[in-house]
Symmetry: C2
Subunit: 207 residues, 2 copies
């Protein structure tokens, strides 16, 4: 939703407020940065996230300072950024990055229903490693007691996206400098078994 | 430096305060998230960074709300995170991530010396694309006037690092669940020339 604080001061044409743009970015990102302020002091923590419907979820230890602070419900700012390419123009000034970012202004809501809490942990686990949750032993009551689950509304979320080639000044167009993009990608390499993995074959969902 | 706000509440054994740990993480990261607060409202922006000595530098448009806000010199929190692997334990609870992150608490200092400003722009450009700066036409006075360069001290920086295999509970060790790590890597793909790149061969530094 476009509100004063989700309207960028620069390059407003790159801003988007529709779920069709915002949701896929959140679904591709594995990690976000959660920013909050304590007595005017900004603090930020990178953590895993997962989206379902019009909410994003994070989890953490009940003992963490970060979780205890934001579960109070004060304002937080959650950012994700996917970098698709470095953009090389003919001037340093027009160098850029092709990226897809989302900024969410929201307040944490603590998820308290035990079934919903478990569903969110499954959601986050399968977001990082699709198919993993059903292959794991059930989470115990003790583990659940040690875990806080928080949700955040996407009502005040916005995306910013840059795509395409460099945008050069007319007077630079004919310079003999190489211009174009260098695509970037985050890839997963072959899984490496741990020492306690005696004889278990790599499951299909990890192939 | 270890101070109350750089001491994590959880897993303090993963925290580091030495330049030998912190600098290489900052030098590998291309982007950071800069968090600041305006009247208690946290805001955060992903942006490019580069380190030299015991400072990190960012740049931006003189007209950007973000830059104008943090150049006032209020407290900011800069985070970077490199994700090296997903860590798959035999329980959901012990799933983790191998990561290297840095959190910097600092206040922006505006770089005003023109030579230093130019050097920082070269530093950031070559951090993203090594060798690029010397291949570009000189930056103009007009471009310099549109650009703000900010520095941040690393005096209050800390790193947090997790490495190695999953850490399972003793009673889970013999479960037949696959356990191990899935390494992750950010890679650069083959450069794609822009339409205005008529005939210029790919320079050596981009090979």
């Amino acid at each position: 939703m476009q509100t004063p604080r989700t309207t960028p001061s620069r390059l407003a044409k790159r801003a988007h407020y529709d779920a069709e743009t915002i949701h896929p970015i959140l679904d591709e990102a594995l990690f976000c940065t959660v920013s909050f302020a304590v007595d005017g002091q900004p603090m930020a923590i990178p953590t895993a996230l997962a989206r379902q419907g019009d909410k994003v979820y994070i989890h953490g230890s009940v003992g963490s300072h970060f979780i205890r602070e934001i579960e109070k419900g004060g304002p937080v700012c959650i950012t994700v950024m996917l970098t698709d390419a470095l953009v090389l123009a003919k001037s340093a000034f027009h160098h850029s990055v092709n990226y897809r970012s989302v900024v969410i202004f929201a307040n944490a809501e603590k998820v308290t229903d035990e079934t919903e809490r478990m569903n969110v942990l499954a959601l986050i686990t399968d977001h990082l490693i699709p198919g993993r949750w059903d292959d794991l032993r059930p989470t115990t009551d003790s583990e659940m007691r040690k875990t806080t689950v928080l949700s955040f509304s996407l009502a005040e979320a916005s995306a910013k996206v840059r795509t395409g080639p460099p945008s050069d000044d007319p007077e630079d167009e004919d310079l003999p400098t190489w211009a174009g993009i260098i695509p970037m990608q985050t890839v997963r390499l072959a899984p490496i078994p741990a020492d306690n993995n005696t004889g278990t074959l790599l499951p299909d969902y990890l192939q």
